[in-house]
Amino acid sequence: MSKQFQFKLVLLGESAVGKSSLVLRFVKDQFDDYRESTIGAAFLTQTVTLEDQTTVKFEIWDTAGQERYKSLAPMYYRNANCAVVVYDITQSASLEKARTWIRELQRQADPSIVIALCGNKTDLAARRQVTEEEAKKYAEEEGLMWAETSAKTGEGVTEIFTAIAKKLPLTAAPASRTGAARPGASRAGVDLNKQAAPGPNEPCNC
């Protein structure tokens, strides 16, 4: 049987850089032109299968980018195995903001956290303010993963998440943290202490 891993991933970055859109593209392969800004933190999951058939399940926390909720961010990146810090390639200020987030993560988050810097909105390359070289150089200096994406066209989205999955230490199985079912722990019947809702393949789906 192939190995299964589960990791907590958090998205950070300035408001309106496209964090929620990236997640929507990654999880559902969809795109909304007019998304309302996230006020809060949404929890989603998506599984990536690697070439060796290892599956990596991401528990994704998509957080609000607005400045006034900044104090809540540590609650979401604590215990995170990886972070995707997003900036908008058409807004150089958003890269500055990304740098602030990265400094905070390096200071406050779990020291083993894998950080990816992600320049979003490559479909708007005509209005580019942040050059690839500038961002890449910064990422190299800080030892971060780096990629550019377009949540709108889907370009680079799966790739960056897959790259993160490969970079994560797949030797030690991380403990389940958010109360999600452990792999292999699914049971027949309805375990009333675990799940009120039987899954589709379980007998009491009434």
Partner: protein
């Protein structure tokens, strides 16, 4: 095994039945290396359900296998549910004999499993099997044949995948032992605990157990909705309850005053509107915490009670009676005496049930014409005396179901019954035994219970708890036996000499039972009506004090009546009295009258609604597409300016914008923190929204003496982030802001004397005068005292009451430094009273009392006026000035009619504010008598 079968049946819904049970051991597939986990036996039960039919086939039967286990409290709970359908396979094999474990740590060999049968339950090809071991071959066979029969039925109806077994839904939706559909009321201790305290721990980014939380929220919602939908009004059930420790005496006195009330009931119609103890308590209560007499809040029933409940203790004091006695001679004589006391009403009543255990007897008497309304009467008795079982202490209890009467007889009995439980106990005696009494209470709470089949004597372990009721009334005489923790002389003196309006409130602060409830050591959650009567114990025939109390025993309220009810049953107590004219015993009997608004809920309709609602809010499948979604309309709330004791509220609209029902709850930002800062209240804290439904959530700020001290020392700008979590969804952030307006209330004296001007004009919390430049005494207190000195209508001050709005205005004038709008001279007594109340409110809000707690013990040692004045030198100058000015006004007040009585009344009214008790429970209590004497030195 038939007993266990019945125990399983008790968990089932009416249409379902248990056919066979079998004890099994689970071979834990998750932890094969840990055989310890499989040691606890489980039960396998075959449950059948008659499905009445919309299908052409008409009725047919469906089956399911339940795996049950015992909770730590020995209660059965359903652990897993396997519908019996085509693909379910059940295989049997002889097990290999396990190797005996002879190591020292292992169990004795005799306890190790014998050879048994291995049962493999395979619910479907995709699901791992459940492997069980059974040793009970006798019951194995019927279980297997029953499974086979039901499976054959399933095949003929070609049921696929068990998906059409909706009758199992209530069982699978429940986390707890009790299916929501159960006829047994939910434990009152659970029902009275706020739902948010029952949810799993969660905080931002750590969502907790969403599945379990959703189940709790859903059940709560379903119960409330079903009741709202089916509710057809209430029946006012009237009760008169009495408790009497008869000290072994026979019923020689006329008991009428106790059984029927001082005036024969129904002789007149008292005004019953607005008589809730709560509403009166609030409106009568002065804004300060100086409690006044509660005498006016008692009333009596406007008609004959439907039910009389009488609890007796110490019916029989003979030595042989200490063992379980079965004699009913005493019971009979007391029953006759009760009926005799009812006079011409006696013929309208009949005895429904009684239960005696040695000296303890409980008798239920009901109106004859209501007899058809009573059913399922169950009795219980438990000893708690010597060795924990002897019957000299303990309790007897009666549980009954009351179904409201109907006009048309045909639907009678179709209403859902309301369960009432009455407990009569006699707890450990003696002042110093308070811990034993508390223990007895917990012990009886556990052991007094009712077996399922009425009216069997409950000697076997009980199955229904006394708390599984809609209303529980607990009475006891010598008792509940709780005493007053004050020296003997002091109790007597306060009872004899203090004005009625402060006598009881003062003594009750030292009442062991009140303190045990407040400290959650016993009778947690129970309610007791305000005591405004003399202690019921101990009256003597020999050496007594002026009130008739025995000189050898400290008077105490040992005989009490308390109640606990479901939040949906608003029990109203009308009165609480002692009857000193019934003198046969060393105790005096105590009585209480209640109105219980019994729900009129058509039973069938109610359970149908439960089913329908459960189906409506059944958990969605876990696919991402149907994630619950809600929209919070305003995520940023600003309250503007907020003031001390001025309620401000805002509403948030939350809409379910998704396609499935959504459970939501507020969670704290970090683990172990509160959901909101203490100055902010959220109502409700959790709920369920159907698709496109809108909920209104209220945010409230009401800053009182508890919250203000911190706020007065902090920044004016208040802010908070709230997190509204939707189950399986996201965390929504709501930011709340407010600008606090500093108040002179809830500060300390030193800080008040260093304010550069009115507190409201402070630029920041640190905007104070230099340390050595403070004023002599807080301006705010002096302004109030000066006004009272100059303008108050003293003659009516003590007996008038104030308008809370005027008090609020006065607070504002003090905080802003603006002039009082009331000219010196002819003033409305209510205005004077408002100044008086404001003064005490301000003094009581001080974070440190005028005389610090550490110095208060010294007060009690002052033996003369000179010493008392001398003592003041221990205080800070500001405190001395306040003390002198306030007591000077009190002296002025007392001189007005120069009676000793007025001075005592004033001193007993004011001492809780001038010399408050140290709230630290470790502190040594200081005599209220001595405090009053100290104050008297200054005001007479």
């Amino acid at each position: 095994m038939s007993e266990i079968l019945n125990e399983v049946r008790a968990l089932l819904l009416p249409a379902d039945d248990a056919q066979a049970v079998l004890e099994v051991l689970v071979t834990d597939e998750e932890k094969p290396s840990n055989p310890g986990s499989s040691d606890q036996p489980r039960l396998l039960a075959v449950i059948s359900h008659i499905r009445s039919g919309s299908s052409q086939a008409g009725q047919h039967e469906e089956g399911s296998i339940f795996l049950l286990r015992r909770s730590p409290s020995e209660r059965l709970e359903i652990q897993r549910v396997f519908p019996i359908f085509r693909d379910l396979s059940l295989n049997l094999a002889q097990s290999r004999r396990a190797t005996l474990d002879l190591s020292a740590t292992a169990k004795p060999v005799s306890n190790q499993p014998r050879t048994g049968f291995v049962l493999t339950l395979q619910p479907g090809s995709q699901i791992p099997p459940l492997v069980l071991t059974a040793f009970d071959t006798h019951n194995l066979r019927p279980l297997l044949s029953e499974c086979k029969r039901l499976q054959e039925l399933a095949l003929t109806h070609s049921t696929d995948q068990g998906a059409s077994y909706p009758w199992l839904l209530p069982y699978t939706l429940r986390k707890n032992t009790q299916p929501i559909m159960s006829q047994t009321p939910i434990d009152l201790r659970v029902l009275n605990k706020p739902l948010h305290e029952q949810l799993s721990p969660a905080s931002a980014g750590l969502p907790g157990d969403d599945a379990a939380d959703s189940t709790l929220i859903r059940d709560h919602w379903v119960r409330k909705q079903a009741r709202d939908v089916c509710h057809k009004g209430t029946y006012r059930l009237t009760l008169r309850v009495g408790t009497f420790n008869v000290n072994g005496k026979p019923p020689l006195d006329d008991l009428a005053v106790w059984t029927r009330g001082p005036e024969s009931f129904a002789s007149k119609l008292p005004p019953l509107e607005n008589l809730s103890p709560l509403s009166i308590g609030l409106s009568e209560r002065p804004p300060s915490d100086l409690r006044r007499a509660l005498s006016s809040n008692a009333s009596s029933l406007d008609r004959d009670p439907d039910i009389f409940v009488f609890g007796f203790q110490e019916l029989d004091l003979s030595t042989e009676a200490l063992l379980y006695s079965t004699s009913t001679i005493k019971e009979d004589s007391w029953t006759s005496a009760i009926f005799a006391s009812l006079g011409d009403k006696a013929s309208q009543y009949t005895k429904l049930a009684s239960k005696q255990l040695v000296g303890m007897l409980i008798i239920i008497i009901i109106k004859v014409d209501l007899k058809p309304c009573f059913s399922d009467v169950r009795l219980s008795a438990t000893g708690a005396g010597i060795m924990g079982v002897m019957g000299n202490k303990g309790g007897t209890a009666v549980r009954l179901a009351f179904t409201p009467p109907t006009q048309d007889n045909e639907s009678s009995g179709a209403f859902r019954p309301t369960v009432l439980t009455f407990v009569n106990t006699h707890l450990a005696a003696f002042d110093e035994m308070v811990d034993k009494r508390n223990m007895d209470f917990h012990d009886l709470s556990k052991r007094l219970g009712f077996s399922s089949y009425a009216p069997v004597e409950a000697i076997n372990p009980p199955q229904t708890s006394i708390y599984e009721s809609d209303v529980l009334i607990w009475m006891g005489g010598k008792d509940l036996n709780y005493r007053i923790d004050l020296p003997d002389g002091e109790v007597r003196s306060i009872l004899r000499t203090w004005p009625e309006d402060t006598r009881y409130t003062t003594l009750l602060r030292y009442d062991q039972l009140r303190n045990a409830i407040a400290g959650q050591r016993a009778f947690d959650l129970f309610k007791e009506f305000p005591i405004n009567h003399l202690p019921s114990y101990r009256y003597g025939s020999g050496m007594t004090d002026e009130l008739g109390y025995d000189l050898k025993r400290r008077p105490a309220w040992t005989d009490r009546i308390l109640h606990l009810s479901s939040p949906s049953v608003h029990v109203r107590q009308l009165n609480y009295q002692v009857h000193p004219t019934v003198t046969l015993s060393d105790h005096r009997p105590v009585s209480a009258e209640f109105i219980v608004p019994v729900d009129i809920l058509p039973g069938h309709e109610y359970y149908e609604s439960l089913r329908r609602l459960l189906r409506q809010v059944a958990p969605p499948s876990l696919q991402e597409e149907v994630r619950p979604m809600i929209a919070v309309e305003d995520t940023s709330i600003h309250f503007g300016q907020i003031r001390y004791k001025q309620l401000a509220s805002r509403t948030i609209r939350v809409k379910n914008t998704g396609e499935v029902p959504c459970c939501w709850r507020f969670i704290p930002i970090a683990p172990n923190e509160t959901i909101s800062p203490e100055w902010l209240r959220i109502l409700p804290l959790n709920g369920l929204l159907l698709p496109s439904e809108v909920a209104l959530i209220t945010l409230e700020i009401n800053i009182g003496p508890k919250e203000a001290p911190t706020l007065n020392l902090g920044s004016k700008v208040l802010g908070a982030a709230l997190i509204l979590h939707t189950a399986f969804g996201k965390d929504h952030f709501i930011s709340v802001g407010a600008e606090y307006q500093y108040s002179c209330f809830a500060n300390d004296l030193i800080r008040l004397t260093h304010l550069p001007g009115p507190v409201r004009s402070l630029k920041s919390q640190d905007d104070l005068l230099p340390e050595n430049r403070g004023v002599n005494a807080p301006r705010e207190i002096m302004r109030l005292v000066n006004w009272l000195m100059k303008s108050a209508d003293i003659s009516k001050l003590l007996d008038s009451s104030s308008d809370p709005q005027v008090v609020a205005q006065l607070r504002e004038h003090l905080d802003t430094g603006t002039d009082f709008p009331y000219p010196v001279g002819d003033v409305d007594p209510a205005i004077s009273r408002a100044f008086w109340d404001t003064l005490w409110e301000l003094i009581m809000s001080l974070t440190e009392p005028i005389v610090p707690f550490t110095l208060q013990a010294r007060c009690t040692q002052m033996t003369s006026r000179d010493e008392a004045f001398e003592f003041l030198s221990e205080l800070t100058p500001a405190a001395v000035n306040v003390w002198i000015s306030v007591t000077a006004f009190l002296q002025f007040l007392c001189q007005a009619d120069s009676s000793e009585e007025t001075a005592r009344r004033v001193a007993t009214m004011c001492f809780p504010a001038l010399l408050p008790d140290d709230p630290n429970p470790q502190s040594t209590p200081i005599s209220p008598l001595a405090k009053v004497n100290f104050i008297l030195y200054f005001i007479t």
